[in-house]
């Protein structure tokens, strides 16, 4: 196995609908992401950045083109095979947190481990550890309704990293937070990226949040318009 980039997109297109109503969201995207990079994807709405994130997150398949993840040709995989990729290698953080309501932080974080079939004791320990990493020790038994927005997003991050994923995909993770909480979340993501070598792909429209990333990819009209690599501070 040759050591290529972790993620490689070649001429990826994505078309929604058919015939006259068809809409091409991605028009041939080429993108390589090496392991350990923190990538911010920016662009105006309708530029295809969310579609790209869905494809990168294996939630959706491309209409055409080649997508290799860990040298696996993802474009040819079935729905369930993509689900297994997500289960073992990916973690998700959403703008709206997407925690299970009426369910404690601990149980929310344990959820991905349940699907992995982890032992109860190991599950508890891993969830506690993940919650500690995001600074929520002592909040394990609170339900989302009892947590602030920033804390909820921390629980969501803990849920994403509890499986020790290769890639963390974040869709506007600071969109629902005030600026100070937003910066705290970004600091947390950066530290996860640096300390645990988790590749992070984040969609955002806020330049100040994109500033935390190693690389900023701008999408315009279904194509990569600019790709900017920065020196780590």
């Amino acid at each position: 196995m040759t050591e290529g980039p972790l993620i490689s997109l070649r001429a990826i297109t994505k078309t929604y609908g058919q015939g006259a109503a068809a809409f091409q969201a991605l028009k041939g995207v080429d993108l390589d992401i090496p392991r350990g990079q923190f990538v911010a994807i920016m662009g105006p709405s309708g530029s295809g950045k969310s579609t790209a994130l869905n494809i990168l997150g294996c939630l959706d398949g491309p209409t055409s083109g080649a997508f290799r993840f860990k040298n696996i040709a993802v474009e040819g995989l079935t729905r369930n095979q993509r689900a297994l990729l997500r289960r073992h290698y990916l973690g998700f953080v959403f703008q709206g947190f997407n925690l299970l309501s009426r369910t404690s932080a601990q149980e929310n974080v344990e959820l991905p481990l349940l699907y992995r079939g982890a032992e109860t004791a190991q599950r508890h320990a891993a969830a506690r550890e993940a919650l500690a990493q995001v600074g929520l020790t002592g909040w394990e038994h609170h339900t989302p309704a009892e947590l602030s927005g920033g804390q909820q997003q921390r629980v969501a991050i803990a849920r994403a990293i509890v499986t020790r994923p290769l890639v963390l995909l974040a869709d506007e993770p600071t969109g629902n937070l005030d600026s100070q909480r937003g910066h705290e979340i970004m600091d947390l993501l950066v530290s996860l990226n640096r300390e645990q070598d988790i590749t992070i792909i984040m969609v955002t429209h806020e330049p100040e949040m994109a500033h935390y990333a190693d690389r900023v990819v701008k999408f315009v009209d279904g194509l990569v318009a600019s790709d900017e690599l920065k020196e780590r501070a």
Binding site: L59, R79, L84, F92, N98, L99, P112, Y115, R159
Partner: protein
């Protein structure tokens, strides 16, 4: 595989616990359906047992011969002459298949003992009555031949009469005032309890038939009822036909005249009655089963609502890496666990209701493990059948659409 099932079970239990109130309301239909089915069948079995017990307590292989046609639409029982003592003798000598032939006359009269009085059925009969009616003497003795022949004023009282008039001590040898004469108590009958029509069989006083004829009814020859006991292993039908022929002949009925008497076979009555009850039980059980089915549709309804309501949750699970069949299994198991729990609650409810109702109706409580198991399995099946469609809908959701669902 087992690990996966356990996981799905855990997920299902967590989901049920998260929505406890809704879960309870969802399964209410199944709870009531299961309870109704089990209650109907259990009560039906109890009623059947009660009726057959009561009829067999009348006497084994008992035929009853009465004047007049059997009651029914268009039947006439008025004006038919009573039997004569000679008829009793004729049956005794000419129908060898009978073990005992007991002539009975009787009426309802007031009994007085000391300062107590009590209304009771007083029957004049012979010792054959104990055989035919399956009676045991609890204390004292039967009639003696000379008492029967002479129509002496002696009597044997039932358990209820003893309880009412002689609550303490043995009444043997005491005097009992029957209407306008006094007789000596020579025995007490063993109690039998309630009869098939709900009457108290023990509320009775027996005396020699001649005594009753002379002092109660005033008709020295008439016999109103004959109780006939078949020998063991003898079929009732030919004997009934033989008795019918004999009686038609003795009552001088012309060729085309209807019978002005009838013979009843208590065993047949018991079978007819319990057959009727069984049919009713089946019918009520079927109605209850329909309610169980409706309960299942309730589960499907709520599970479908639940899938829509939890679209986001399903989206999260799919994004995290849940496989299609895992989501399907989760929702299916949730439905099965729900309805099986509903089944268990229903069984418990039925147990309480049955205990209460059987006590209220003084009926035997027959726990029927078969119907309980069947109802439980059926409630589980309802979960599978009605949970499958919502579960499949959940499993096929597109994670991207589901995550965006508001």
């Amino acid at each position: 595989m087992i690990q996966m099932l356990l996981n799905a079970l855990l997920l299902a239990l967590r989901a049920i616990r998260r929505n406890l109130m809704r879960s309870f309301l969802t399964v209410l239909g199944v709870v009531i359906g299961v309870a109704a089915v089990i209650t109907m069948v259990t009560l039906g079995n109890g009623a059947t047992r009660m009726v057959s017990d009561q009829i067999s307590s009348l006497g084994s292989n008992l035929l009853i011969l009465r004047p007049g046609q059997q009651l029914g639409p268009g039947r006439d029982s008025a004006g038919a002459a009573n039997f004569k003592l000679a008829d009793v003798e004729a049956i005794q000598t000419q129908v060898p298949a009978l073990k005992a032939v007991a002539p009975v006359v009787g009426s309802k009269v007031t009994l007085v003992a000391g300062n107590q009085n009590w209304q009771s059925q007083v029957n004049g009969t012979s010792n054959a009555y104990f055989v035919a009616g399956n009676w045991q003497i609890a204390s004292g003795r039967q009639f003696e031949d000379d008492e029967e022949a002479a129509g002496k004023a002696v009597c044997i009282i039932g358990a209820t009469v003893k309880k009412q008039l002689f609550p303490r001590g043995s009444p043997i040898g005491d005097e009992l005032r029957v209407k306008n004469f006094t007789c000596e108590i020579i025995g007490v009958l063993q109690g039998k309890g309630q009869g098939a029509m709900g009457q108290d069989q023990d509320d009775v006083v027996l005396m020699p038939i001649r005594t009753a004829q002379r002092r109660l009814t005033g008709n020295v020859n008439d016999v109103s009822t004959l109780m006939l006991s078949l020998r063991d292993g003898v079929a009732a039908d030919p004997v009934m036909e033989q008795i019918r022929k004999l009686m038609r002949e003795r009552r001088k009925l012309s060729e085309n005249a209807d019978d002005d008497f009838h013979v009843m076979d208590t065993k047949q009555i018991a079978e007819t009655l319990s057959g009727t009850i069984r049919t009713m039980t089946g019918l009520l059980g079927a109605v209850a089963a329909v309610s169980l089915l409706v309960g299942g549709i309730g589960i499907m309804n709520i599970m479908l609502v639940s899938v829509t309501e939890r679209t986001r949750e399903i989206g999260i699970r799919l994004a995290i890496g849940a496989l299609e069949h895992e989501v399907l299994l989760q929702f299916l198991i949730e439905a099965v666990v729900l309805s099986a729990l509903g089944g268990l609650v229903g069984i418990a409810l039925a147990l309480f209701v049955c205990l209460g109702l059987t006590a209220l109706m003084s009926m035997p409580f027959l726990f029927n493990p078969g119907i309980n198991l069947l109802a439980f399995v059926f409630s589980g099946l309802i979960g599978i059948v009605f949970g499958y469609m919502p579960a499949r809908r959940a499993a096929r959701l597109d994670p991207i659409v589901a995550l965006r669902f508001e």
